[in-house]
């Protein structure tokens, strides 16, 4: 009798120990899944396998471009909704971004080439703005305006892109361009500069010329 009790106790203990281990395993997997979900909501800049260059991961591709309303340099409010049914390149840039200066003339040329087919570029400055300091804010707006004038940007330019960085994946690198088709769906995302040909290929995707 005593032996049976000991055996049953031992079996129950072993079952409990493995049950505990199983629960710990389940908890680990649950937390890992939560982390994956959190990562899916935010684009991340992560070192690549070689530890050098940075990679960009964004979950926005294939989804609707997040709505926004921003001001242009004249203070007029402009929303994404205004460009409903247009094919768009939403191009985030900054005055301090040297690669943006290389890319902008390509965008201008291609925008002029494809404008008649319903394509437009929205240039969004991600320069910091001191909203609490009117004198500084005025100076910062002037710097942006000077850049726009110098680059001869013919398309709408909006400011305070940082305020919409979260829905657009953090904007951890510039330039970053979201290519949006006429249905408002992001069909391509380009981070950093590659080539004019790649920009054109993405514009064609927004227009449905190529998949």
């Amino acid at each position: 009798m005593k032996r049976n009790t000991l055996v049953i106790t031992a079996v129950l203990f072993i079952l409990a120990a493995f049950g505990w281990a199983g629960w710990a395993n389940w908890e680990y997997r649950r937390q890992a899944a939560e982390r994956q979900q959190a990562l899916a909501l935010h684009a991340e800049v992560i070192p690549d396998a070689s530890g050098g260059a940075l990679q960009y991961v964004t979950p926005l591709q294939g989804k609707s471009a997040p709505p926004f309303t921003l001001e242009d340099l004249g203070g007029k409010k402009v929303s994404l909704e205004t460009y409903k049914d247009r094919a768009l390149a939403i191009n985030f840039w900054a005055t301090w971004c040297a690669p943006c200066k290389i890319e902008t003339p390509w965008l201008i040329e291609l925008r002029n080439q494809y404008a008649s087919q319903g394509f437009e570029v929205l240039g969004i400055s991600a320069d910091d703005l001191d909203r609490d300091d009117p004198a500084k804010l005025s100076g910062e707006k002037k710097e942006i305006a000077h850049f726009v004038e110098k680059m001869k940007m013919p398309y709408p330019v909006l400011i305070d892109g940082i305020s919409i960085s979260e829905p657009y994946g953090g904007l951890d690198q510039l330039p970053t361009t979201f290519y949006v088709n006429r249905s408002g769906v992001v069909v391509a995302v380009q981070v950093g500069i590659t080539s004019k040909d790649e920009i054109e290929a993405n514009i064609k995707k927004t227009l449905g010329i190529v998949k």
Partner: protein, 168 residues
């Protein structure tokens, strides 16, 4: 005899379960650390300097720019580019009299070979001339910089450069 065997089995089962749980916990912590964002610039040393009190003294602050990236020098090639700048807050008991920055290296982006940039990459040293009051001071200097690689730029960033200054 049987009781001893049962005790051994129970102890073994407990150890197995504990090891498994510990391994999972370690894995979880490791994976949490691996998703943190890398910094473009790291402060290397010194952690502590001893200098004569109330006498301007030059110290060398060592930094490293992450592999594959560069930052603008203190005198970048364009007005709109953000210079690398060191400051020390007023209330730290240590005054930054001046800072001597290294000359930037000429650099061109592969897609724009005509434009020369002035940048730091790899390790660089800022010679900071400081004056400290007598005593121990934890200085939290600030380094503002803006980093890029060959195709894209990271937003401007200000990091804290912490070191102890002992004024004797």
């Amino acid at each position: 005899m049987i009781a001893n065997k049962i005790q051994i089995v129970m102890a073994t089962a407990f150890m197995l379960a504990s090891t498994l749980t510990h391994a999972q916990s370690t894995l979880l912590n490791d994976s949490r650390q691996s998703i943190s964002k890398p910094l473009a610039v790291a402060y290397l040393y010194p952690e502590q300097v001893t200098i004569p009190a109330n006498k301007p003294t030059t110290i060398a602050l060592h930094f490293r720019v992450a592999s594959g990236l560069h930052i603008n020098s203190h005198t970048p090639s364009g007005d709109e580019l953000i210079p690398t700048t060191l400051t020390i807050p007023d209330n730290s008991g240590v005054r930054l009299d001046s800072a001597s920055y290294p000359r930037g290296a000429d650099f061109t982006l592969p897609l724009d070979p005509a434009t020369k940039l002035s940048v730091y990459s790899g390790e660089f040293i800022i010679q900071a001339r400081i004056t400290a009051a007598a005593g121990d001071h934890l200085v939290e200097a600030k380094l503002r910089y803006q980093a890029c690689d060959n195709t894209a730029c990271l937003p401007p960033k200000t990091i804290t450069v912490a070191f102890d200054v002992i004024g004797k």
